[in-house]
């Protein structure tokens, strides 16, 4: 493929991923409200469109036309740039994630991955981790004590759980011997029993727990804990700036769903009679549903409990898991 062709193909892929994932993130808000409502014996949005499916459009119009308020004493450039960091890092992280298996269209083989770099996992986790600057800067710049508390919680929560994410993912990476997500996927191509979740169940659970903290979803939703600190780092945000935080959060959930399915749940390999493309969509959908499910079922925890869980429970278990994996591999 020539350089021009490569650039055009990449730009098209970027546009498609950006469009599809942001649309899915918007639709995710509808799904979240519906699922939560059903679990709480409510109906959820019902009035815009059939069964409320166009609620996203109504919300979008509302967010776009809302007054954009920048508080007087805030650090204005940082206040304005923080939501962009939030949304941008969420989408940049998707660049190294293979979303679907290869397929052919008009006689051209398409690799549904924007950049097939050989350190895919490292890149994705790194960019997702740098997303912590969004709530941190937003909270610190908005000259609001709730924002400040939210920023402080960002620092402790996201930084601490980065450790657990990294350590938990280390053991499967030792098994595979590659940081490329495509290699990890191909490692599990032998079918259902080859999934890494069977050889690394502890790492899978740790990764999921840390993922909840990284995407700040309930039960670790401390950054914008409505009952305690109004809306945390997002207290002073309104309109589209707040909307960008929201899109970033949902895009992060989708990214994390892809990561967990690729690393632990067999990725986009064919699953029995289910073709690979459909299989990974099903897995990501289930993980997304799991995020909403836990939100309906489980309570928030306190920041000190969060720290206790991270440093005294999860991190030792992760280290032990890595050591045991190493010993088993050497024998």
């Amino acid at each position: 493929m020539t350089l021009t062709g490569f650039i055009i193909a990449t730009v098209i892929k970027i546009l498609v991923v950006l469009g599809v994932i942001s649309a899915l993130a918007g639709f995710g808000t509808y799904l979240e409200r519906k699922v939560l409502a059903f679990m709480q014996r409510r109906l959820g949005p019902m009035h815009v469109g059939p069964y409320g499916v166009l609620q996203v459009a109504a919300d979008g119009i509302k967010l776009f036309t809302k007054e954009d308020i920048v508080p007087q004493n805030s650090v204005k450039p940082i206040f304005k740039i923080a939501p962009i960091i939030g949304a941008a890092t969420a989408f940049i992280a998707l660049a190294a994630v293979p979303l679907l298996p290869e397929f052919e269209i008009f006689g051209i083989t398409i690799h549904p991955i924007i950049a097939d770099i050989n350190v895919g996992v490292l890149f994705v986790l790194g960019v997702m981790a740098s997303g912590l600057f969004a709530p941190l800067l937003a909270g610190m710049a908005s000259s609001n004590k709730w924002g400040m508390l939210g920023a402080a919680r960002t620092a402790i929560q996201l930084l601490s759980y980065e450790v657990v994410t990294g350590l938990s993912i280390l053991a499967p990476l030792m098994l595979v011997g590659s940081l490329s997500l495509i290699d990890i996927n191909n490692y599990q191509s032998g079918g259902f029993t080859d999934w890494i979740v069977w050889s690394q169940p502890v790492a899978f659970i740790l990764f999921l727990i840390a993922g909840f903290a990284e995407t700040n979803r309930t039960p670790f939703d401390l950054l914008e804990h409505e009952a305690e600190i109004v809306s945390g780092y997002a207290t002073e945000y309104s309109g589209m700036r707040w909307g960008m935080f929201f899109i970033g959060e949902y895009a992060n959930m989708i990214t994390l769903g892809f990561l967990a399915s690729l690393i632990f749940l067999g990725g986009f390999n064919d699953w029995g009679f289910i073709p690979g493309g459909l299989a990974i969509v099903l897995k990501v959908s289930f993980l997304f549903f799991f995020f909403l499910w836990t939100r309906a079922a489980w309570p928030h925890i306190r920041p000190d409990q969060l720290m206790w869980l991270c440093w005294k429970v999860l991190m030792p278990i992760a280290v032990i898991n890595v050591v045991v994996t190493g010993i088993v591999m050497m024998m």
């Binding site: 679990m39 709480q40 409510r42 499910w293 079922a297 489980w298």
Partner: protein, 204 residues
Amino acid sequence: MSLEQFKDRNVMQNYTYIPVDNPPVEPIEKFKQVVKRTFKGELFVGLWVVFREMVRFNIHTVKYPMEKLPISPRYRAVHKLYRLLESGNERCIGCGLCEKICIANCIRMDTRYDENQRKEVTEYTINLGRCIFCGYCAEVCPELAIVHGQRYENASEQRAHFVLRDDILTPLDFLKEGKQEEFDGFGAVSPNADERIKKTPLAY
């Protein structure tokens, strides 16, 4: 229920105390508690409960402006002034009892004698902005002329809307269609009133 029980204002009397274990102090006890809670699977019970409710799909939402919950016939909402069924005249005889008994002082009426020397009500207003919907007016009315209706959505843009007599009086065409339903709510005659009536001593 005896009077003693009835007058006991101690609200704690029906409370049940749930025994709570003392929090563990020793590190080994704390560790045991953590392990016990981790493997007890309480989190999965929570997940199961909400999932069960989702699958059951037993929705409790009432889409309020489109559908409304039934209210009791004894509900005390905006008043109604009734008419006599045959003649269509107002039932109100202008006795003024409701005006007297109203503890919020919101009823005002003006009466005069008509050409047949019968009392006629010229003005009748209820200031619904003041009314506390206690139901005394409906209870005291000897003619079942003023009753409480079921209209509880009484938000308005102007206070003047709260006093209109024309609003609460049964319209004539409505009456002709036989749509004025006899009120069985607050202050109404009980269903078995005929049996309970005792004849005056002169009759026996």
